[in-house]
Symmetry: C2
DNA sequence: TCAAGGGAGTAATACGTATTAGTACGGTCG
DNA sequence: CGACCGTACTAATACGTATTACTCCCTTGA
């Protein structure tokens, strides 16, 4: 009825609990054991239906086959577009490695929940902004962590797997330049996060190279009405570049603004997203690039797993994945 | 550098580790303590930056604010439609209750992974079919579990939260009967699961009440071509009823078959789904009902939480939630 | 002056596994 | 015949917290 412990097996097999532990642990410490005893123990374990208690194992200093996932940004449903594909990748790779996942729900009420991550062998972090102090503590304690998305905080000591937004964004600008665009409006998130900063750097450097003028606008979308758009066009702007955001609000605002202003894309103005438009938007395929979220999730799990179980070759703690361009239909040559 | 333990606090505050544990645990066992000592301990804990070790707590006590989620059906991405909303509900309610989630990845390789669920205080189960033996073990051991979706196995002893498919399906048939339909083709999953069986029962009983003839067809969708559909119509069938499935394959097949046969809905034939069509299907709003998945997730978590921490009123271990009807535009009166 | 009683805190132990230092036994060799 | 060695296993302990039974001391009342 009650759980079967190593002690029970020991009694049945006529050995000590320690021996059972050694046998079941595969005897990695090289204890001398006769084959007969080994088999007796294994057989008893089998017969009794032994299952190791992961908590005890963990306490006794081994690891757990458990990887944590900590999401800072709370609202799960609203940002399904952005986070779900990552989680799918994480889940798939974890399953492939035979690890379970523990999802820490970031209730704003208890910021120190982050310490609970220690239940796992290591933890993935995920979100636009990172609680630097807590992360620093974990890092200092030697707890394996990997951030999904590039991180520059703490002097770049946070291991991470990110997307190469710089190159991908630059490539979008280059495409516009090739199509003859010279005046571009660039709409980005109001707050600073590496994913936004990287995009802006890519945009600026490509713009400089191509001799293209880019006006950067920080917005949450609320001020993007038809009037604003008309004003820009009157100003000589021929293309709009929109950052992909968690909620898709900025893109949605632009999209509706364009429709309200009766501006046709790409005939009257070209449009590109630094990423993909939110799901459910009807209309032409918008030019931009794909963020390889599934792959990000997978790569992050692999990196974390290697940090948890070091030995076979230390990988670089930083990786950037390439974002494949999406040609789309919303960039037209300037006439 | 190393972690701060209760023992460290004890040393600083000049008390014993036991006292620290009592103070930090809120002294629920009613040990006599002076206010001064209490404050000294709390202050020391604060100053040293103490954080409890969840592994140890779990080993010593037996409850960790951890709920497990075990999904039998492996393919996460393909069935996002069906499972994701449930998980969203689970996540939201767990966060509200301050519980974390362990997601057990059902790698088909190791069926005994299910035992790992014991890491959590209790576990949610999710999937069309259930590994009865393993569940029975957990149940027998007194481990709190809740299945999402109605379960009849083990003499109904599996606590669950499900949707009332019987009533909802009956209501759909009643709607068809009121519209004058008399001959209906009903397409359901080939395998038996409670969610399918319940729908069929609802369909059959409503059909009997309304004097309506229903031919039940078990299919995975592969045989639903234009020819089959044409044959049915020639037979005098005026309405099709399709079960909602995990992958949406059956509905997709019907949808394409109708188009291929150039049959117009609802002019030539009425169509209803026992649930909702898969996401991404263009066209009119299909008549049917909504499965309250978010609510299912939330209710399941609440039930599990109450099983984990019994005391304040034992709720019924079985709950069925109502599925709100969706009128839609695909049921027309028979002419 | 002694018993009774209560206040304050602690020693001891449990939880289940992993590791390490050690024991016991038999054989071999010089 | 004792020193030495290899084999096969176990005793003891650590991990960090929660609980329970217990001790010690001080006050009060007869």
């Amino acid at each position: 009825m009650g759980r079967v412990r190593q002690a029970d097996i020991a009694r049945v097999a006529g050995v000590s609990q320690a021996t059972v532990s050694v046998v079941l642990g595969g005897n990695r410490t090289g204890v001398r054991l006769s084959e007969r005893t080994r088999l007796r123990v294994l057989e008893a374990a089998e017969r009794l239906g032994y299952v190791p208690d992961p908590v005890s194992s963990r306490l006794a200093a081994a690891n757990n086959n458990l990887l944590g996932v900590y999401t800072f940004t709370p609202a799960f449903p609203d940002i399904a577009d952005v986070y779900y594909p990552i989680l799918v990748g994480v889940e798939a790779e974890a399953a492939a490695l035979g690890k379970d996942l523990i999802m820490f729900t970031a209730s704003s009420a208890a910021p120190d929940r982050i310490r609970r991550t220690r239940l796992a062998d290591g933890c993935l972090f995920l979100g636009r902004h990172v609680p630097v102090d807590a992360i620093a503590d974990l890092l200092a304690a030697g707890f394996p962590i990997v951030h999904i998305g590039r991180r520059t905080e703490l002097g770049g000591r946070i291991p991470h797997v990110g997307a190469d937004y710089v190159s991908a964004s630059a490539e979008v600008i280059t495409r516009l330049a090739r199509a003859g665009h010279r005046r571009v409006r660039y709409l980005r998130e109001p707050d600073d996060a590496p994913s936004s900063g990287d995009r802006e750097r890519g945009v600026r450097s490509a713009a400089a190279d191509a001799g293209l003028s880019v006006a950067v606008v920080r917005t949450d979308g609320s001020d993007l009405d038809a009037a604003a758009i008309t004003r820009w066009l009157d100003d000589g702007v021929t293309a709009l570049v929109v950052e992909e955001t968690d909620t898709g609000a900025v893109f949605q605002a632009i999209w509706q603004g364009l429709r309200a202003a009766e501006v046709s894309v790409p005939d009257d103005v070209s449009l590109a997203v630094l990423g993909r438009p939110p799901a459910g938007v009807e209309g032409p395929v918008v030019s931009g690039f794909e963020v390889p979220r599934r792959a990000l999730g997978r790569a992050a799990v692999r990196l974390l797993a290697s940090l948890v179980a070091p030995g076979t070759g230390e990988p670089s703690p930083h990786r950037l994945l390439t974002c494949p361009p999406v040609a789309g239909e919303t960039i037209a040559p300037v006439t």
